[in-house]
């Protein structure tokens, strides 16, 4: 997994690549939490363009970060969701809590 974080207008944008499983979950969680600690971002945009695999361990990190921004009344938006990831999100009911946008620009406009 590769992960990059960028701040734009009080939004934390996270670009992830690779497989989100129990092995990458720790770094995934840590990177987002460190970014949120270091900055005043209220919302998170997760760009899943390069993510071709996710399982329940990856989902757990997303849900945990959702809970964190929710406490600050922030929102979570996901972009570029690949079909196999979409399937898992659907089964887990994740679309009830995260908003989907086509790309980062749309996500920033929405927030």
């Amino acid at each position: 997994m590769k992960i990059a974080t960028i701040f734009k207008k009080g939004v934390l944008i996270v670009r992830v690549e690779g497989e989100l499983d129990m092995h990458s979950a720790h770094e995934f969680r840590q990177t987002i939490d460190d970014a949120l600690d270091s900055n005043e971002a209220k919302h998170i945009v997760l760009n899943f363009n390069g993510v071709d695999f996710i399982d329940s361990s990856g989902l757990g990190v997303i849900l945990g970060r959702y809970k964190r921004v929710s406490l600050l009344k922030g929102q979570m938006v996901a972009t570029h969701i690949q079909p196999q990831v979409a399937r898992i999100f659907e089964l887990a009911g994740l679309y009830k809590i995260i908003k989907v946008c086509n790309n980062e620009t749309e996500a920033l406009a929405f927030l």
Binding site: E19, D21, M22, H23, F53, D55, S56, S57, L59, G60, L63, G64, P83, Q84, R87, I88, L91, A92
Partner: protein, 143 residues
């Protein structure tokens, strides 16, 4: 039914190995006429079973996880074996959203059940857990 191929793996209970085993499981399934989507389902199910052995079965202890793969004409079977803690209440463990770990989703068994055609769990406390999963090739599928 005759087994056409048999492939067994034994590896350290390390998170690094979950991805390697998942990839091997997908390559093994590719011998049959599964769709890409079905192969993805197999990857998730195998990933969940192996992650459970590493996380819940052994926790922070070291131990061996075993993945046995068997190929038949119309189905593939995956058996994930650990000699870890075992599951106290299988009924409860299989419930959606139940997890003994507050940080986790409790969706592992749900995904295994959703994505595979058969799921059988055998477990004994302090002895370990065996998760047996079967995925069948769908007949009459459009090509």
């Amino acid at each position: 039914m005759a087994i056409k191929n048999h492939f067994k793996m034994t590896f350290d209970s390390l998170s690094e190995n979950v991805g390697i085993a998942r990839l091997t499981a997908a390559a093994f399934a590719a011998q049959l006429d599964f769709t890409i989507n079905e192969i993805e389902e197999i990857k998730v199910a195998v990933s969940e079973a192996i992650s459970n052995s590493v996380i819940h079965g052994y926790g922070n202890d070291s131990g061996d996880v075993e993945l046995v793969m068997k190929l038949y004409d119309d189905r593939v079977e995956y058996i994930v074996i650990d000699k870890g803690r075992g599951i106290e209440d299988i009924e409860q463990a299989r419930q959606p959203s139940y997890s003994s770990d507050p940080e986790r989703m409790g969706l592992g068994f749900v995904f295994m059940e959703t994505f595979m055609d058969e799921l059988v769990i055998e477990t004994e406390l302090q002895k370990g857990t065996i998760v047996r999963m079967i995925k069948k090739v769908q007949l009459n599928k459009a090509h």
